[in-house]
């Protein structure tokens, strides 16, 4: 029986390796994602384009504008003359904020010791608006302190802020584990379900089923190539992120590999389950896409913080395997923690894996007999 199994696994590998385009996607996608996302995605807000309207044009306003312009957060695009211009600038969409100095700004400051700068943020993106408003406020506060240079401000509290794990606020540390979860989920789920349904469509599944070959072996041989491709992908991703993104595995590689295998197997089981219910490739694809890609992107936690979601969604998120895997990767890879920090998540994944396999194997048998 074992040599038969090997023959079958070999056949499955041939299917996969003959199809260069699919193969390109299988390996190209993770690579492209790691490189693109790793280098390109960032949460740092800098060089935001802003406009300035200076109705006062005095020494103070010039100084403040120079200070804002020289900060790395802002990039002054133009000086405005009228309110209409402001509206037009915002509508084009590139300008994030307008800083407006009212007439007699310097005068007021000199005579009354008080002056107000008006800041208008484009709040389409609420977080960005909050952040840029904060930055400009900080710059003004600094300027305030420098005005009072001679006499030391009393009671000065200075927070010393330290950004842990990811001081430059790069997107990569958050995205690499996310990409890993996404890639494994998709390669395994989608490719498995489509490969099995394709045999159904072509009618070759019937031939396999009438052969003296145990159904379990058919399943194993279908799953094997995807398992191996995924493990290869795992190492490609780890090497790429270590070489290019300077993200080394801080914890144990062995532990990470073990947990990844567990997650990959879980995803394979999901694919198997989907294939049992689908009759055409198209429906298998649509089901894996709609059924798996979105939940994975949404509920894994790498795009959106799960704790922000409404309670039902948070409950739902617990059912998504990638959510647990994401936590494990973050802890083991980024923070360098050991098994004692992830045993709970690992156990949950293992339970899901066993459950999914049991269900799909049982269903597969029912369909055969």
């Amino acid at each position: 029986m074992h040599s038969q199994l090997l023959t079958f696994i070999k056949k499955e590998f041939l299917h996969v390796f003959r199809d260069r385009k699919t193969l390109l996607m299988l390996f190209g996608l993770p690579i492209a994602q790691i490189v693109l996302f790793g280098f390109a995605l960032s949460n740092e807000v800098k060089d935001s384009k802003i406009v300035v309207a200076d109705y006062s044009k005095d020494a103070t306003t010039q100084q403040i504008i120079a200070k804002i312009g020289s900060s790395k957060y802002f990039n002054i695009q133009q000086s405005l003359q009228s309110a209409q211009q402001l509206e037009a600038a915002f509508k084009k969409g590139d300008i994030k904020m307008a800083v407006i100095f009212p007439p007699n700004f310097g005068n007021n400051l000199q005579h009354t010791n008080k002056a107000t700068i008006q800041v208008i943020a484009d709040a389409s993106d609420p977080n960005l608006a909050t952040t840029v408003t904060n930055y400009v406020t900080n710059i003004i506060n600094d300027y305030n302190s420098s005005l009072n240079n001679g006499n030391v401000q009393p009671l000065q509290i200075t927070p010393e802020v330290q950004m842990l794990y990811n001081p430059e606020l790069r997107g990569a540390p958050n995205f690499v584990p996310g990409v890993m979860a996404l890639v494994f989920m998709l390669v395994c789920t989608m490719m498995t379900s489509v490969a099995i349904v394709k045999e159904k469509e072509l009618g070759t599944m019937e031939i396999l089923l009438v052969s003296p070959f145990r159904p379990i072996y058919i399943i194993i041989s279908k799953l094997a190539p995807n398992l191996i491709i995924s493990v290869v992908n795992l190492f490609i991703i780890l090497i790429l992120s270590s070489v290019f993104l300077d993200l080394q595995v801080k914890g144990s590689v062995l532990l990470l590999t073990f947990c990844s295998m567990l997650f990959i197997l879980t995803s394979l089981a999901v694919g198997l389950l989907l294939s049992i219910n689908a009759q055409t490739q198209e429906s298998a694809m649509t089901a894996s896409l709609m059924g798996m890609m979105l939940p994975t992107m949404l509920l894994t936690g790498f795009l959106f913080p799960i704790e922000n979601m409404p309670i039902p969604m948070q409950v739902l998120a617990n059912l998504v395997p990638s959510r647990w895997y994401f936590i494990i990767v973050k802890r083991v890879m980024l923070k360098g923690l050991g098994f004692e920090a992830v045993w709970k998540e690992t156990l949950i994944l293992a339970a899901m894996c066993v459950l999914l396999f049991t269900i799909s194997l049982r269903k597969f048998k029912i369909r055969l007999q």
Partner: protein, 371 residues
């Protein structure tokens, strides 16, 4: 033209007959549009904070109360050492650790300065950014507060510039207003590029395309016949999305519907061109799926739905310029939120048109009717 009529008749018949697919194409996006904004909430609420108060003074107590009372922070707990606090951050039990050092109050009073130590888990950049700035805002308010108490009248003799900030277009900082238009774009994208690619490849796999190839149908007529049904489907899906966004999330476009639909048609032209191009390079549905999935995934992540294009390095921004969804997302957001007109978005429209022309020409050239 008559040929086109018969082709369209056939395509629509087939489409309408596949009830389950049609259902998935309409219902699945609808469900996503309902659910996704719930999940895609980037607004940072409840940053959890762990506090190490080594001072145990009235000032430190007041500061902590101020931090936890503001609504932005949730107290994850008090611990006695900075190390323990860091451990909580490590285990994701807290996002942020604040240490108030020994003699904080005394130093403030005697030396006029006091230090605070803050450590933030920066793996999630947005949260780190906002958490950090919320905290420094609160500390600054606290600082002003005690300074006024101390000097009784601090503001009179020192010149003080204040900032009056206002938020336009989304004064209540409602995240749904920002996300719903973009999510709608991703749904239309997935539907148009993928389904058009599948559809053509299906004819290849079934062998019916060979029959079509020996008929005198011109290739551009055949292609137009394939694309129009998906154009119609895309418009239906988009309209459904607008209605759902309005009912559920109260997203009412400020701009004109003519601008929105005009842009949509240009956008669908480009994305269907991509689907077509993919189909010409695929022999099997599996390949078509792989290829379109490759693009859709990258589009989704890079086009500014989930992370800001402006934060990317210049080379990445240049690449993103060639992604049609990045332009359409900008158009959607500016038109829906700010009421921008054709003249404001002309650059983006021109870009999509050029990309669309390139993709379609490429696809038609590559679509060989003589196999």
């Amino acid at each position: 033209m008559r040929t086109l009529f018969f082709l369209l008749e056939k395509e629509f018949r087939q489409l309408l007959r596949r009830k389950s697919l049609l259902g998935m194409l309409i219902i699945a996006p609808a469900i996503q549009l309902i659910i996704m904004p719930l999940a895609a909430d980037f607004s940072v609420k409840n940053v959890s904070i762990v506090v190490v108060d080594n001072d145990h003074s009235s000032y430190s107590q007041r500061l902590i109360n101020k931090i936890t009372a503001g609504g932005s922070f949730k107290l994850a707990g008090y611990v006695s050492s900075y190390k323990e606090a860091l451990k909580m951050v490590e285990q994701d039990k807290a996002d942020l650790a604040l240490q108030i050092p020994v003699n904080f109050e005394r130093n403030l009073a005697r030396e006029n300065s006091g230090k605070l130590f803050v450590a933030i888990n920066a793996i999630e950049g947005t949260k780190a950014n906002l958490g950090g700035s919320y905290l420094s805002g609160i500390v600054k308010d606290f600082d002003d507060e005690i300074r006024i108490e101390w000097t009784h009248d601090a503001t009179v003799d020192a010149p003080q510039i204040s900032v009056a900030s206002s938020n336009w277009y989304n004064p209540f900082l409602n995240y749904n207003l920002y996300m719903v238009p973009a999510i709608l774009v991703t749904l239309v994208t997935a539907m148009s590029a993928m389904q058009s690619a599948f559809n053509i490849v299906q004819e290849k796999e079934n062998g019916t395309i060979e029959q079509i190839n020996v008929t005198p149908i011109k290739k551009h007529i055949f292609i137009i016949g394939k694309l129009i049904p998906f154009l119609v489907l895309g418009i239906i899906l988009f309209s459904l999305g607008l209605v759902l966004g309005r009912i559920i999330y109260h997203v009412v476009p400020v701009g004109s519907l003519i601008v929105l639909y005009g842009s949509l048609v240009v956008y669908l032209f480009a994305m269907l061109g991509l689907g077509l191009l993919i189909s010409t390079y695929s022999a099997t549905q599996q390949q078509a799926m792989s290829l379109s999935f490759f693009f859709i995934n990258i589009f989704n992540m890079m086009s500014g739905v989930f992370s800001s294009v402006d934060s990317m390095p210049a080379w990445a921004q240049a690449i993103v310029q060639t992604f049609p969804p990045s332009h359409f997302i900008k158009i959607m957001r500016t038109v829906v939120l700010k009421g921008s007109g054709f003249s404001d978005i002309s650059n983006h429209l021109i870009a999509i048109t050029i990309i669309g022309l390139v993709l379609n020409t490429w696809a038609i050239l590559n679509y060989r009717k003589t196999a």
